[in-house]
Symmetry: C2
Subunit: 171 residues, 2 copies
């Protein structure tokens, strides 16, 4: 069983959080919701509500086995927070699994961890991914070392499959 | 009097559209709202409504004297449309004034027109602007050749001032 940090804030894409979260828990993994304020509630684009367990300023990648970054506009809001950027970067420094879908790569671009990596993400950020020095791959899921990335809600089953496979390998 | 295209879609930042739009019209300029579907209505993050006059696929920079790109999440939605990207790029090719605030630079990054330019924009896209080969300047307004850019709602008065000054020079 792995302990997965979900880094999330307002305007996350609802199903891109809900479906992987449900699948990770069903597989026996523990989710800890990390956000800007512990105890606050954040809302998805379509109204889903998530309670934040821990403030990102109080946590480290050492406390977790993996990081899950749901999409929507949540990553755009997280990437202006220096602790959120530092936290995401730590998973790369420590070579721990990172699962990112849709706009998730925005947080990783600000963390400057994508250079030379193979990544996918939502259509709107293709040029940003390329400009960050990564190779953009137009596929439902891309696995590159510690990073599993997908483009959009339709990719969720492939995203869950590869994320769970990476966690199984790490045990 | 200049004819200004406002390229806009859902989730624009309300005041970043409303205040410059009002100032431009008050100064005698004509605004044409360009979006994804002519006749449709688009909504701001806080509920403001804008009617789209022309579909971007049907217009060219030749039809206008300047381009205004309001912020919010509208630019993220526009940059996946190849006509919106082509349209924004034309204003640079033809050296016509472009006014962009907040997330506006996202559309210009996808149009690949920022290399070597001095630009500002919302905090979340600082790294994207730098990775696009531009110099990010943390100022309320930055004027670089045909481009006037600002960061956020608090910068609106400076943004309006420099945009109007550029239009006055072009006459």
């Amino acid at each position: 069983m792995s302990r997965i940090a979900v880094i999330i804030t307002d305007m996350f894409q609802d199903v891109e959080y809900q479906q992987p979260a449900e699948a990770f828990q069903k597989a026996g993994h523990e989710l800890v919701h990390v956000g800007l304020r512990a105890g606050s509630q954040v809302k998805g684009e379509h109204g889903a509500v998530v309670k934040i367990d821990r403030a990102v300023r109080d946590v480290s990648a050492d406390d977790f086995d993996a990081l899950f970054i749901p999409g929507g506009y949540s990553p755009d809001k997280l990437r202006i927070d220096t602790d959120a950027v530092r936290f995401a970067k730590e998973f790369f420094t420590k070579n721990k699994p990172v699962f990112g879908i849709c706009h998730a790569a925005q947080l990783l671009i600000t963390a400057q961890v994508l250079k030379g990596r193979r990544v996918t993400g939502w259509t709107s950020i293709v040029q940003d991914i390329k400009n960050a020095g990564a190779e953009y791959v137009d596929a439902e899921v891309v696995v590159d070392k510690n990073l599993v990335s997908s483009r959009k809600p339709a990719d969720i089953p492939a995203f869950i499959r590869e994320a769970l496979a990476m966690l199984a390998k790490k045990r």
